[in-house]
Symmetry: C2
Subunit: 507 residues, 2 copies
């Protein structure tokens, strides 16, 4: 009597162990690549640019070979299927590894090569096109990216839309159907709220945050705050770079950077707290699953939720302003003003995404999202972009750019082939808001602790609920369900904004 016999538990375990060994190698090499990237931006002498690019290319080749190793594919085939003998985390390791393997092996080498070339060509082309405000000079590259991303998406999964396949790279499990649902709601809530604020709101005074602030003292202040929030300097470094970022080689080796402007206190401060949020997520990973895909960041949106949690939900809150005030008075005794409303001033006019505040930011994102989806589904032509961009800008944010440099050339994401990246910024903001509301429910006295500069309980809670969980869940909604009991709900975000700004702007 012959029946299909499941592989015995020991065999599964053996295959699983072999799989982990291979995955840990890829992870270690990825960590090395991360360190090289950090070094390049923070330490490397200018003259080493060419040799470093060559080193990164060789390393990328080694990683690619290991990621597409046929033996890895065989192990994954054997482990794909019912995994009763594997625990929840182990099953997620297999799921994530399989997803990664399929995405990587599906893309022909020719496309991968052209993507790498195009990325390095595009940046300079974009810089020049923006300088000259000449969209036409960038249009050719953009068209090639659109075609290439469509081709790549078809190779990965011809059954899904090109946009959904590309989006999945940045926000696992997210779809444009779900984004449409979320973003329509957000747009319909925010456009009138912004108009109301602009029309009858009373803007608080924030002029004292511009002026002249010693950057050394700013850096010291921000290091103190980063450490008090919980950045662990025995497992990370804090340096200065032209563009602040958080990178590094491993959860035990997280490299975060900041930058400070002498004439603007807010940017350095909120930037440092933002990066601290990213860094806590990285340092907080569960080392029981070190080097395995279940231990990776969940998605770009969840990563951003951790930075925005600290930057916006905590640092822009009323309780935090008391803690911050005390520190600021030591560093800059001349500052005796009320911080909370000033830090939350709405930055009208709403021209640039990177300068936007939490109220207008999502409308920028929705604009980019609608256009990039249109580019990939064919409903938007590259040549129509400048006009459509300007129309949407006027409609959502009530402003029209003076030229394309300040319009559809203001961001470079598409020039890097990153279609589906933009939405993650606002998903992050909404995740962060929903998580914070839940934290307030679960942690009584949270706001008093924040006021007193005690962040340990909150950090521990985030660590348990989000940092250590890594990529255990298949998508952000599942993680939100586990943390807050419900999938992402933009109504929570909209309610938070209306409540907050009604008070600050005396609506």
């Amino acid at each position: 009597m012959a029946t299909a016999v499941a592989a015995p538990a020991e065999a599964v375990q053996q295959d699983y162990n072999s799989l982990c060994e291979k995955l840990r190698e890829v992870s270690a090499l990825g960590g090395i690549s991360g360190l090289l990237g950090w070094d390049e931006q923070v330490m490397m002498p200018d003259g080493a640019a060419a040799s470093r690019a060559a080193q990164q290319a060789v390393l990328a080749g080694v990683i690619y070979d290991k990621q597409t190793d046929a033996a890895l594919g065989e192990l994954l085939s054997k482990l794909d299927g019912p995994k009763e003998s594997l625990g929840q985390y182990e099953a997620a390791v297999v799921r994530e590894a399989l997803r990664e393997y399929q995405r990587t092996t599906a893309v022909p080498k020719r496309i991968a090569k052209r993507k790498a070339e195009l990325s390095s060509e595009a940046f300079q082309v974009w810089v020049k096109a923006r300088e000259a405000s000449d969209f036409g000079a960038f249009a050719g590259i953009l068209q090639e990216w659109v075609d290439l991303v469509k081709e790549q998406s078809a190779a990965i999964d011809p059954a899904r839309s090109a946009y959904d396949v590309s989006l999945d790279e940045y926000e696992k499990g997210m779809t444009s159907a779900r984004l449409d649902e979320i973003f329509v709601q957000v747009r319909e809530g925010l456009v009138p709220l912004l108009k109301e604020i602009k029309g009858r709101g009373k803007a608080p005074d924030a002029s004292f945050l511009s002026g002249s602030f010693d950057t050394g003292r700013q850096a010291k202040l921000c290091e103190t705050i980063a450490k008090e929030i919980g950045f662990d300097l025995t497992r990370g470094r804090l340096d200065v770079s032209v563009h602040p970022f958080t990178g590094g080689a491993h959860p035990s080796d997280v490299r975060m950077t900041t930058r400070f402007k002498a004439d603007d206190l807010t940017e350095g401060l909120t930037g440092a707290i933002h990066e601290t949020g990213h860094a806590l997520y990285e340092q907080g990973r569960n080392l029981d699953y070190d080097g395995l895909p279940v231990n990776q960041a969940m998605s770009m949106g969840i990563h951003e939720s951790q930075s925005l949690f600290w930057e916006r939900m905590v640092a822009l809150s009323e309780p935090f302003s008391h803690y911050l005030s005390a520190h600021l008075k030591t560093a800059f005794p001349e500052l005796k003003h009320e911080l909370y409303p000033a830090l939350n001033v709405v930055r009208d006019p709403f021209k640039f995404r990177v300068e936007a505040d939490e109220l207008s930011y999502p409308l920028h994102i929705i604009l980019w999202y609608e256009l990039e989806k249109g580019l990939l589904d064919g409903s938007v032509a590259v040549s129509d972009l400048p006009r459509l961009w300007n129309e949407k800008m006027q409609s959502y944010l009530g402003t029209t750019p003076k030229d394309d440099a300040q319009g559809c050339l203001q961001d470079v994401h598409w020039g890097m082939g990153a279609f589906g990246y933009f939405p993650t910024y606002s998903l992050g903001a909404m995740y962060a808001c929903q998580i914070y509301q839940e934290a307030k429910k679960q942690l009584p006295g949270l706001e008093d602790e924040i006021r007193a500069g005690q962040f340990g309980q909150l950090r521990g809670w985030l660590n348990e609920k989000i940092h250590k969980v890594g990529s255990l869940y298949p998508d952000g909604d599942e993680l939100m369900r586990a943390v807050t009991g419900a999938p992402l709900d933009p109504a929570i975000f909209l309610q938070y904004l209306r409540d907050k700004y009604s008070v600050i702007y005396q609506l």
Copy 2:
């Protein structure tokens, strides 16, 4: 009529190009490993030690796989033999690559693995043994190293002595027969000279070099000098580390470090100039052969010759002392003494190799050399080491250590399996001396230039003769012949020391 047909020139060129591609990959990965090593000592947070070790191990495995790739071996076999169609540098690429391939593939994995384990075990064992001055606690590890190195040498080349095969790792082409010849001559010249200096020499005053010197000002001074000698900060960095070293990722990315002591001016200063010499050698490589073995450092001895050239031949010279004096007076106005004799004081008693001056240093080296050769040829038993070490110390340097911690446990080289490393320090000093005498002949006005702080002509000469030449020649004697017209001649070194110290010590 069949005759053996030589491969046509195009086929050779094609194989050569394929070879270069593979070699450049290995070189790029080696550069990455170099950067990780620098980062570990200069930047890395303590908590990252374990993850970094794992990353380095994975990277070492990748490099090993590429170094022992059968396809590389096949290309080398095809290219080994008459190479009329290859130029001089191209032929040296094949020669060096073949040598490296044979050495790497000859060693069984078991030995390579045990070496790596033993290296990481040994350091802690040695530290503890030295703390307790307990040679017995270290003897077991040392015996295992002796056996392992003998086994490894037999695997690489059973026709040569174990010592010669091991020595070849550090000083390509050197043999113990040649070292015996050189070192006997040096010993017989130096032992009486040292006795003479100790007996009737008049020691100059150097007390003013000890005291209290702001380390920040020392660092600034040394950076200025390093830059004026020619260290290029657009293709390198200068940082501080516990143990000064020169490393990095590429000739365009050389990372040198220094350290300064508040109570001792000489150590930081000579250390910085020493590392500058290493750094110039690294930065000066010929980028036409970038990433190929012909472009690697010739040997440990030649590398050391470049650091000692600047540290001793230039910086300890009378002309340089005028240049240095001018800088020192700016940094430390209280220093108005005569520098030249003070910097050249003989550091009696001669207890520690790392503290030794140029006169007593070679005798330390000869002691270690004689013993390590004896350990590998069986004429010295591990258990006899402490006694033999002390006897030689008394005979060559007229002093006996108070215990084994200050005796045969003072250096860790053997604990790392480095048999044949010691001689390179003194070979470096002798190469440097011979090269300097030749530079004086070929560059008229050299000493006036040094006095004026003009190092450009000398640096350019070294660059042409040595830095750019890399590993073109098969051994140090050949390089010396090309640069100075004769193989290494210890008589030049001895004459230099006698002339110099007769004046300083008024013999």
